[in-house]
Symmetry: C2
Subunit: 541 residues, 2 copies
């Protein structure tokens, strides 16, 4: 799938009858320097804009809503010669402390995993602020405390890569918050999508387990690093994920959505062996210190509503969409779902490390100021983090710097830093993490939005079945097309704004303002910006 290409419409059978309007129309774009610089706005690829945006005037406010139900405002501008769609900043988020002004800085900052993790809006705001300030932030990781399950010790994760697991394998899990000697035993019964209804074709898979005691309300989805082998380890019958290369096996498992138990839409798939690890976490809580580095070439891995890039990704996307997608789920089995993420671009930690050496041809301005931070460097300690040093440099010489030295804004640097731009650039170019065994990996768990996407759409459907339309199309229509072949003006006429349409012809006459509401998932990060079709809202400016 090419960049900027719209995700194809899913047309699998939908027993609930809600899938059609649920399927998000979204796009994914690898950010350019112009997108991320403070010099201008974010350029929306034309096809994506035409597919995802409703009819828009050349300059119009947009209200976006992410998976967490948080609304974003931004401005759409159709200008330039030739004309193009741009999203500009200078707009605030309503009902939250985040400014959309920060979008520029956030575009490439966060691994989307962080954004889709079980972060609530407040925590997210804190992180976002820390990142926008290019400073550090901390997260208290309390293993098995549901509120902070977003951090996975890197050592645990890496150890999980050393083991494959198979169907019928027995394993134990240590419950940190209870008696440390207590361990639950379960048997692995398969691997599945995390939630096929919500994210069809998601590459984030689950381990299916069944607990020995069959106790209700018992954790029933585990990540590879949460368990340790126990009893039979046949080594056969290993799981295989179709369309996945072995090099991608072992990607961090998604934390299950425990708050909204779902026992449908999962299916056991077996294919290439996955791996798991021995549960090693002993400490009560782990503090993780983040420091932000800049790299214009950092490639983030899409998660959640995955909009995939590249051909390879497309093949993975097809996984789970075959006939087995509609197999009847063992809904009574319940509590037997867990996820294993299959990465788009390999191990994310390796990706991070790689970035530091692949940053090519950056201008000093880009490196020191205009380029937003694009990677997180993680360090672990069992006590609250101290300021520690990072080792960096190119292949030939390694330097040490304070992690926080990256937090100094350019304008301050220019006035007070002893390093000149060129030497600084040289240092940053070769920046890479030399993290030892203490490193952490930060991975997401399943998004548990305050206002679940799924429910939102159910509500949307029920609401809109009366009078609402989805981007001008009645929701009762059999299918919402990708929009390419439709006439936006005609659709918009349903709202009585026949001329208030997207000015694909710049001689267009423009009517009074019209607020448009779209759904943007993970919109804090433009590289993962998924613009979803929604209904139009008539809100006068």
């Amino acid at each position: 799938m090419e960049e900027g290409k719209i995700e194809a419409e899913l047309d699998d059978e939908d027993p609930e009858g809600i899938g059609k309007s649920m399927t998000p129309h979204m796009f994914c774009k690898t950010l350019t320097a112009s997108d991320t610089s403070t010099h201008g706005g974010f350029s929306v690829p034309r096809r994506a804009a035409e597919d995802c945006f409703p009819p828009l005037r050349p300059s119009q406010e947009l209200v976006a809503k992410d998976l967490h139900g948080i609304e974003w405002k931004f401005r759409h501008i159709y200008r330039g010669q030739p004309r193009r769609h741009l999203l500009t900043t200078e707009v605030v988020m309503e009902n939250s402390g985040l400014e959309f002004v920060e979008l520029h800085k956030l575009k490439v900052v966060l691994p989307s995993s962080l954004l889709l993790a079980q972060f609530n809006a407040s925590t997210l705001a804190a992180v976002v602020n820390a990142i926008s300030m290019r400073s550090t932030f901390t997260i208290c990781y309390n293993p098995r405390a549901r509120s902070s399950e977003i951090i996975v010790p890197y050592r645990k994760f890496s150890k999980s890569l050393a083991h494959s697991f198979s169907c019928g394998m027995r394993f134990k899990i240590r419950c940190e918050t209870e008696d440390s000697s207590e361990r639950r035993c379960s048997v692995c019964i398969g691997v599945s999508d995390v939630d096929r209804a919500r994210w069809p074709g998601s590459k984030w898979k689950c381990l299916l387990v069944r607990w020995d005691d069959m106790e209700v309300n018992r954790l029933n989805r585990v990540s590879p690093w949460e368990i340790e082998p126990s009893g039979s380890m046949p080594g056969t019958n290993s799981f295989i994920l179709p369309g996945t290369k072995r090099s991608r096996v072992g990607y961090p498992a998604a934390k299950p959505d425990l708050s909204v138990p779902r026992d449908g839409n999962e299916v056991s798939d077996f294919g290439e062996p996955l791996r798991f690890h021995k549960g090693l976490a002993r400490s009560r809580s782990i503090w993780v210190q983040y420091s932000i580095c800049r790299s214009s070439s950092f490639q983030t891995a899409p998660v959640g509503h995955e909009v995939l890039q590249g051909q390879e990704t497309a093949s993975i996307l097809s996984y789970g969409r075959g006939p087995e997608a509609n197999q009847a789920q063992d809904k009574n089995a319940g509590n037997v779902i867990t996820g294993v993420k299959v990465p788009c671009h390999g191990n994310s930690w390796s990706t991070l490390t790689q970035v530091y050496n692949t940053n090519t041809n950056p201008s000093p301005t880009t490196l020191l100021g205009s380029s937003p931070p694009s990677a997180l460097l993680l360090q672990q300690s069992s006590s609250p983090p101290q300021f520690t040093s990072l080792h960096y440099g190119n292949q030939n010489k390694l330097e040490t710097c304070n992690m926080d030295s990256f937090c100094v804004p350019q304008r301050i640097l220019k006035k007070h830093a002893s390093l000149d731009s060129s030497s600084m650039r040289e240092d940053l170019q070769g920046l890479r993490s030399m993290g030892g065994p203490d490193r952490h990996a930060a991975f997401s768990h399943l998004p548990v939005p305050t206002q679940p996407f799924f429910r939102d759409n159910q509500n949307l459907v029920s609401i809109c079945k009366s009078s609402c339309r989805l981007f001008g199309f009645p929701l009762t229509e059999g299918k919402v097309a990708a929009g390419k072949g439709d006439n936006p003006a005609a659709s918009a006429s349903a709202y009585g704004h026949e001329t208030d349409v997207l000015p694909r012809n710049e001689e267009q006459l423009y009517q009074p303002p019209l607020m448009t509401k779209v759904i943007v998932s993970s919109c804090t990060k433009a590289s993962d910006m998924h613009v979803v079709r929604d209904r139009l809202l008539d809100i006068a400016l």
Copy 2:
């Protein structure tokens, strides 16, 4: 003691022989709008500058060091007509991610308690960033985990106000991190200064307790909200804090400095009854959400190295300096010290609430943009915080707004807010917290600096006894005068910079640059800026 007045030299007996050089020379100033605005710098009162600053040229860089050993850089300017001392921003902190540029915004932001708490630099940086962004931040509060003892549930605190406690009273304490059924029993034996040697005359008092089991390494200082009554509750023999009004009783107790046990310099004082609370915290960890409001009139209560303001404060300051200050302490009793803070300006929560209604005559600019945030609004939940609403308004009408709506910068507001400036001002003027039982209070515990102030000065003395001088005065001199009667030029001549002195006469000739090192405690908050004398360092610019 008047504002800006230098703290008098303490000349109590000093068995260690280190008191003379330890006594910090510092000043405290209630911030003005000019101090906090972005329009200019921070004006240092003349007397304070002459006492605390070494000879300075009219424009010179300063390196400051706070209690945590963190260095700050800022610029001293002697200009204006008439001439005055100004501290300007635009300087970065070395070895940390904090910019001194943020000083303006931080001046009135943090209760200094937060800064002096057992925050490490990284956590502090995150908080500071969040505040400078006028957004939210979160702290994971794990009761009785030493690393995060800075947050006190408001309910616990408020309940502690409902009880008075007395000498001989027995109480229990629940150790959250251990078996929940386990409770330590102890008996209250008095109240005392937290550390008279370190902070003579501090208003932050301690509860003196003795544990039944006399076990060593046992927590021996408790806050009122940490304990619950058990057994005898005579109701007599209540503690009285001299010079304290009843209205101030019940102020949060300081968390004891457990890492540096001190059993000397405490004394039991009895006076006005204090109160305590039942320990109520049951949850394993508590998340506290902060939101920042702005108020130019918010009065922060000094803590730590207290430099007091106003006459009333002066009387309190005299407390603890009487003959009893030198009473022999029962050092063998050990483990029998706890602190109860006695506020300077009443209950801090009340103060916070009050501020919202007493903010007088603020300009829209001040309220919405130029004025830095000056108060923290706290909310509690047993789960990670969600965005919640605040109720605000004047006495006649109450409004509800999202906590984070206060995080929107002015320039953004001006462009996009539906409220105009006047109505916004009106709303903000009447802003107040309507927090229910879920509110938290954030209070400090004793400062446990990485480089304790006490030890720092010991080192300083030993170092400087050879060649160092304190602001030009030999450290072996009998006493370091307040500086008013001294001739700085003559003192500076010891450094061979006879003409490189503070330009109190503007016709002065100025020599090449000289870096001056001072110690500033809690210097992130200018209202508590305590500039401490230190030695001069010859560092060429």
